[in-house]
């Protein structure tokens, strides 16, 4: 029998597509886009289209497993009861031994962004104060910058970009990472809109723009400030600034005394005349929209970069404009009740939920170092969910040390990932075709329910079901040891996740109405249209007291990014590729054979290397073998590897990554972000066919 079900793609992606699956006698047959969605419009990217292959992949783990020795690959199938028993007994023993639940650590992030996946956080809160990874590896500095400037982190509806006469795509590559924005941009171009793309390298989006402006990595903030200075010099400032902004005199004085366009040209690599032309066009075209990507804030000065871009938007009067603004992302629809926390007052405008106030919070980006440093009491058990840190985190040498020291490691995942190789117990989880869930997007305004279309594959279970069962086992062994529910209905739980505020945003009388179809939140399509801001002053704040209190400069200002050390002179950038998402590849089960390093031909020549030559990129942390590919558009001080997973036997790219953190992030996400674009390497020629590479992390 044929049946249709609705789903939401749960990946950490701008588009958060609405899906419709077709099953035949309980077997998943096809996946299509849901045409009712006005942003994704019934079309899907190949990642979602290969979901069926993922769901039924022969590599997917279908049963709980125990590994006899970590990293040995010596796995045995066990029953859920054995797995739960071992987990619960270890938790209770550690609690008794240390007289505390802080030795228990949870590290979870965006493997699946569904609200019910927060069950893991809620389970840990139910056990007591525990050690938690907090913050975000992704966007923290930019979120803080926008929170400081506007008072609140929000963006216009992505459809609003259609009204812009000038679109600046700044450090964002929607052609590969937010593909549903491309028809909106193309349609605008056909109506005469000019599109300018700022990036460190010629992306697929940059190649389709009217102009591509190549910026030296980490200097985008200075470029924005220099253009702000041009606006001020050429009387292109919004005359209304005194009415809705705070501190603009101070900011203009800073631009006047500290910023020189010619000097900025030298530093950013964008010629002074180009800076002036760009500024004039931006100041004179209304409406003009800036879309700032995540990559440009993944530097040690990333928060200031976004503050400078926000300030540029404000100076030109583009904030609050229909089809204008500085767009980055939003939390506005993430108003979930918070699993296990039945008080709606605890619902936060933040996907980080379920935090116990007495938790020991460790920055997710420095987790290994911080966990190793914990002594009173030490971290003894780690649960990884929706995460693959041994592939994706910095400080892999410290992660390895941590994994060797811990007493007990649980990994819940779909596949035996690089991180799962460290697990004592592996728990198989369900995909979004096998459980109920609730999803919001950080880019568009839609919220929707994910229904199960098929029975869980093998013995896999949802995170919520796993959390219930762990709680049940804990309470069976020691009554009262966990306050998280021990059973329930996934569907009822998801309906309770719709907070009163979310119901109001979705114009719903009762939560059940969300079951019918995804809905678009009732938010103004253009943000800050009334120019009433959520800052302490109610104004757009060029000068921010909140920033000062958090230890940042009061004004958007430029501080340089890190400089390469002499022994590692090349900056390594690792943008997303269209066929991979962090450590997930598409189609599933196809891992590219080794890394390709894109370099300027002249750089390669200076090393005596030809195209296709095997080489090695290395720094003081490790080395990774690469094959060279030439790209004329890459400058000689930058090399690029498009991020994708590596075979477990090979060294992975992140052995080169140290946990430099961004300047900002603590205000809105609890911790600074990861400055992953501040990674430097040297290029080495590989001689001979066999080369000793650094050991696997």
């Amino acid at each position: 029998m044929l049946a249709k079900h609705q789903h939401i793609c749960p990946r950490n992606c701008y588009d958060t597509c609405s899906l419709i699956s077709t099953t035949y006698n309980g077997v998943l047959l096809s996946v299509e886009g849901n045409p009712a969605h006005d942003y994704t419009k019934g079309k899907l990217c190949p990642k979602a289209m290969s979901d069926i292959q993922k769901v039924y992949s022969p590599s997917r783990i279908r049963y709980p497993m125990r590994q006899r020795h970590r990293f040995s690959g010596d796995w045995e199938r066990i029953s859920w009861d054995e797995a739960l028993e071992q987990i619960a007994r270890t938790i209770l023993r550690l609690k008794r031994t240390h007289g505390s639940t802080l030795p228990l650590a949870l590290n979870k992030y965006s493997g699946n962004f569904g609200a019910l996946h927060n069950a893991m956080e809620a389970l840990f809160s139910g056990i007591g104060p525990t050690t938690r990874a907090i913050g975000s590896p992704c966007w923290s500095a930019g979120v803080d910058a926008q929170t400081i400037d506007f008072g609140r982190f929000r963006c216009s509806s992505p459809l609003d970009m259609a009204h812009a006469k000038l679109i600046w795509l700044w450090g964002v590559n929607p052609a590969w990472t937010a593909i549903h924005q491309m028809p909106i941009i193309f349609d605008a171009m056909e109506r005469g809109t000019t599109v300018v793309c700022f990036d460190t390298h010629l992306s697929a989006t940059a190649a389709r723009s009217h102009r591509f402006i190549q910026v030296r990595p980490g200097t985008d903030g200075l470029l924005a400030l220099a253009m702000g200075k041009v606006l001020a010099e050429e009387n292109l400032l919004d005359p209304d600034l005194p009415n809705y902004t705070l501190g603009y005199h101070d900011f203009l004085a800073y631009l006047d005394s500290e910023i020189r366009v010619e000097r900025a040209a030298t530093i950013t690599g964008v010629e002074a005349d180009t800076i002036r032309d760009l500024a004039r066009e931006y100041g004179q075209t209304h409406p003009a929209c800036i879309w700032a990507g995540f990559g440009l804030q993944r530097y040690t000065n990333g928060g200031q970069t976004l503050r400078a871009i926000d300030a540029l938007g404000a100076l030109a009067g583009h904030i609050g404009e229909k089809g204008g603004g500085v767009q980055y992302g939003h939390f506005e629809t993430w108003k979930f009740s918070g699993l296990g926390h039945t008080e709606p007052s605890q619902a936060k405008a933040n996907p980080v939920v379920g935090k116990n106030p007495s938790d020991r919070a460790l920055n997710i980006n420095k987790f290994a170092a911080a966990a190793l440093a914990c002594t009173e009491p030490p971290v003894r058990m780690l649960w990884l969910a929706g995460r693959n840190p041994l592939s994706q985190d910095a400080d892999l040498h410290l992660w390895q040390k941590l994994m060797n020291q811990l007493e007990f490691i649980v990994v819940s995942d779909l596949f035996l990932t690089r991180s799962a190789a460290a697990a004592d117990i592996f728990l198989p989880v369900t995909t979004h075709y096998e459980h109920w869930d609730l999803h919001a997007s950080y880019w568009h305004y839609w919220v929707g329910v994910n229904e199960p279309a098929i029975a869980p594959v093998g013995e896999s279970k949802s995170d919520l079901e796993i959390a219930w069962r762990v709680s049940a086992k804990l309470n069976e062994l020691e009554p009262g040891s966990c306050t998280f529910p021990t059973s329930g209905s996934e569907k009822e739980t998801l309906l309770r996740e719709l907070s009163p505020e979310l119901l109001r945003l979705l114009r719903l009388q009762s939560p059940k109405e969300i079951l019918l179809q995804p809905l678009k939140a009732n938010l103004p399509p253009a943000s800050w249209a009334q120019r009433q801001f959520a800052t302490p002053s109610g104004r757009f704040e060029f000068r921010s007291e909140k920033a000062v209190q958090a230890g940042f400069p009061a004004l958007p200002s430029y501080s340089p990014p890190l400089s390469p050390p002499p022994e590692a002179p090349l900056r390594l950038l690792t943008p997303h590729h269209s066929s991979a998402l962090n450590s997930q590849s598409y189609p599933p089960d196809t891992i590219p054979n080794g890394y390709t390093l894109y370099v300027n031909p002249e750089l390669a020549e200076s090393y005596g290397l030809n195209e296709g030559a095997p080489a090695e990129i290395a720094n003081d942390l490790g080395a990774v073998r690469v094959r060279l590919a030439f790209d004329l558009s890459i400058p000689r001080d930058v090399v690029i590897v498009y991020q994708h997973p590596a075979e477990l036997k090979d060294s992975c790219l992140n052995v080169l990554l140290r946990s430099h953190t961004t300047d900002m992030g603590t205000i809105a996400t609890g911790a600074p972000g990861l400055a992953l674009n501040e990674t430097f390497v040297c290029l080495r020629r590989l001689t001979g066919s066999v080369q000793r590479l650094s050991p696997n992390p």
């Binding site: 996946v31 190949p46 010629l202 190649a207």
Partner: protein
């Protein structure tokens, strides 16, 4: 033949996502390896500037199909609307067509020992729907068109792209809108 259906592909809009490839695979539940439709990157050295441009081709339903010409068992037919249909029941897997096609579009399925290829979703067209690849294209880079003299006279419509075989061989029913290059202000 009353008309000739074909594809119009815009390299300007195609972002290389391969959604069309996957939509085709989903529609026909094909095995992992064969690609009835496939996305390729344009050869950058053929343009004055790096392009990051792609093109997507399936069977070109040529006016002068070499596959049909060489097939010893008559597995290929050309419909009245120009669609070249391959009949898998007749196919003996001799692979002459894969050698004859300059675009490498008939795909040999090693597991099945037979050739398979794009049939322009004629069963969908017959019901008034678009081909699966066209329906799935997010940026609107791929269209189903009728190949006519008027189309060929339109500004910007090309019969081939650098790196593709000369259309004189088979007169393929595909037209291209080539990349428009923006200004690239690069640093050293």
């Amino acid at each position: 033949m009353s008309k000739q259906l074909g594809f119009l592909h815009s390299s300007e809009k195609c972002v290389g996502c391969r959604g069309c490839e996957m939509a085709c695979k989903n529609e026909y539940q094909t095995d992992a390896a064969p690609r009835w439709r496939q996305v390729f990157q344009l050869h950058e050295e053929r343009y004055s500037l790096p392009t990051r441009m792609f093109f997507s081709i399936a069977c070109n339903h040529c006016a002068n199909p070499q596959c049909l010409k060489v097939c010893p068992v008559g597995a290929y037919t050309k419909r009245d609307d120009g669609i070249v249909v391959h009949n898998r029941d007749r196919c003996i897997g001799c692979r002459l067509c894969t050698m004859a096609c300059p675009y490498d579009r008939p795909q040999f399925n090693h597991a099945k020992g037979k050739v398979e290829k794009c049939n322009l979703c004629y069963q969908r067209l017959d019901q008034g729907e678009k081909p699966a690849c066209v329906a799935a294209c997010i940026p609107g880079a791929l269209e189903l068109v009728e190949i006519t003299a008027e189309l060929d006279q339109k500004l910007g419509v090309l019969k081939t792209l650098p790196g593709l075989p000369t259309p004189a061989l088979t007169n393929p029913s595909i037209r291209f809108i080539g990349p428009k290059q923006g200004k690239q202000i690069r640093r050293d």
